[in-house]
Symmetry: C2
Subunit: 228 residues, 2 copies
């Protein structure tokens, strides 16, 4: 619950007056959705049921049901909440970077941090969601596709900004670079959750550093060794 | 069903006399498991139920139940069958390569082929399975971890063989290389299933070619342009 509150206040301070207090109902709804998002990375978004969620929250089924009238409504609200959590952990900190190149490094780094800090027991919420629903026709599939496109778009935009700043080679295809960086993150996420070992994170960081270094303009290379 | 038979005969010819005919019971069991593996990439291995599977196979529930006494038995047999299919589509063709370097290229290439040919509607069976069960404690999680370790081990062994043959730089860490190649495959698989677009496959092939080219010994570089 401690983490719930930290996450939530960090985010909503951007959109609400900071001193406004949440009503009990709002706080309960956020607590339920936080639990739902965590549960979904273990049991799947399809494995979410009002009954299972009530048990995880230590609430009665009717208590949870009062906030979400149907399983579909609960699922959609859970994805929305996970998007806010992703912003707080990954997008917002990276947006504070002062250059495109720094942002291009910060986005994957924050992603790895949110996986290794155990924001979710099953790793990246959106990697789980996208893999689960990719082959279905459903509103959840569309949300997952939008989330992936938004994420790749953020990486691409950072690469384009770095090119405009003269930090990154103009020959590099930003879509190709974003694709490869996302590959390193996906495999690190999966291996980390499966094994719990930090080696996956070390490998991802090495791969990302080298891949970005391979397209840096000469003026941005700190030293010859860094590129080796 | 045509594909089922092709897959099956291709594999079992290695372990059974080629002229031996399957009994009706064996053929039915294989057909059910093929359907189950396909269904699991859409609904999840947890979404597999005897009832849903019977519907997908056009059989009665009791007909399916006669082959698998429990959902867990069905799930484990499905994973085993998916392992055979993976061998037929990916491991066996790559094993025919005559050098470590060729095998290092053939393994990811055959993986991409099995995704784009639609062996499963939801892309790679084991990527789906591993993502679904990674955060649980269950026999399925252990099977998924073993499958991933075996796959990474095959890539690493190909890299080590290529190093022993003098084709690949001895400075390269085979585990790091396998990790990165697997990342390109995972993201290609996910994007291809989500979008149905071939661009993900093109990007994966470009990334794999360049990554391997970056650690080739000079004698294995066909031309300067290939490395650019």
């Amino acid at each position: 619950l401690a983490r719930t509150i930290v996450l939530t206040s960090g985010h909503t301070s951007n959109t609400q007056p900071p001193r406004r207090r949440r009503s009990d109902g709002e706080a309960t709804r956020e607590f339920i959705l936080q639990s739902a998002a965590r549960l979904a990375t273990v049991d799947g978004i399809d494995g979410l049921s009002i009954g299972r969620l009530a048990e995880a929250c230590g609430m009665s089924k009717s208590g949870v049901f009062a906030h979400f009238g149907s399983k579909e409504e609960l699922q959609l609200a859970t994805v929305e909440r996970a998007g806010e959590i992703f912003s707080v952990w990954v997008l917002d900190p990276a947006a504070a970077a002062t250059s495109g190149l720094d942002r291009l490094r910060a986005l994957p780094e924050r992603y790895l941090v949110h996986v290794e800090q155990g924001v979710y027991p099953g790793g990246c919420f959106f990697a789980s969601l996208a893999t689960e629903v990719a082959a279905r026709r459903s509103p959840l599939r569309d949300l997952a596709a939008d989330a992936l496109a938004g994420w790749l778009g953020a990486l691409e935009q950072a690469a384009r900004d770095a090119q405009a700043e003269g930090a990154l080679s103009g020959d590099e295809d930003p879509q190709q670079l974003a694709f490869e960086l996302d590959g390193f993150l996906l495999v690190a996420n999966l291996q980390f959750v499966l094994s719990g070992e930090a080696a996956a994170m070390t490998r991802a960081r090495r791969a990302i550093d080298r891949r970005i270094a391979s397209v840096l303009m000469a003026t941005n290379l700190p030293s010859a060794e860094d590129r080796a």
